[in-house]
Symmetry: C2
Subunit: 150 residues, 2 copies
Amino acid sequence: MTEAVEVEGSPQHHARVEQLHRAYYQAWEQGDADRAVSMWLDSDDISCTYPGIPAVTGRGAVHALVTEGIELTRGAQFLFEDLSIAVAGDLARLTCVENVVMLGSLSLEAVTDLSTSRLSVTSIFRLVAPGWRLWSHHCGPILEQEAGER
Amino acid sequence: MTEAVEVEGSPQHHARVEQLHRAYYQAWEQGDADRAVSMWLDSDDISCTYPGIPAVTGRGAVHALVTEGIELTRGAQFLFEDLSIAVAGDLARLTCVENVVMLGSLSLEAVTDLSTSRLSVTSIFRLVAPGWRLWSHHCGPILEQEAGER
């Protein structure tokens, strides 16, 4: 049982958590599912939720979901906004807005007609012997004002 | 730093986390914002994401968001499916499908024409001196097949 206070030494851990977050998405952009999967906690208690679907839990199911997600989003690149990290001992939470940019085509027109979508991300990390690992990831759509006004 | 193993004694903690989850939604159904807010960790590091919006962090902002949410959903009742809880020491995660039922009218027709929406919930709880408290809540829409096929 811990008190609800934040620990000292957080700045280094903040940096490490952000580094892992960026490395995870870089592996995704590179289509490297094995590397992305290796950043999850080695536990059957992991959980992952992607836009529009219920939570998926368990090592095998999450690994399969991540691998499928990487295959389905070939060519996607990720840009982050409003990145915020909270560290409490061996626990960390990262929230951000994830902009998914599908470059699709390399024609000049495409540069001014990028298809983007904005997602809200909450990732929970735990610190274990090898370092910080993903324990929970929830990613849901951010609705544009037009959609909100329907 | 902890090993990625689950602790013994989990069954009681599973029950307590589920109890807090249900009490939280019961307070919501009853329009009791003060009671709902009291179930959050007393920390400025709390985070809450509702459908369609980016994460909101910080004690004051989260309390205001929860209070506004309760006011905007008067009459809503909540039914849960696929509730799953993982406990690791003083940390717990609950995932479920949240069915929001808006009763709206008490006419006979309304009973067969309930407006429902399905959401995917990931709640993270931390165990502190007074007991389990909400630290992070992310709730996003589950898209029906029709929507997915657009």
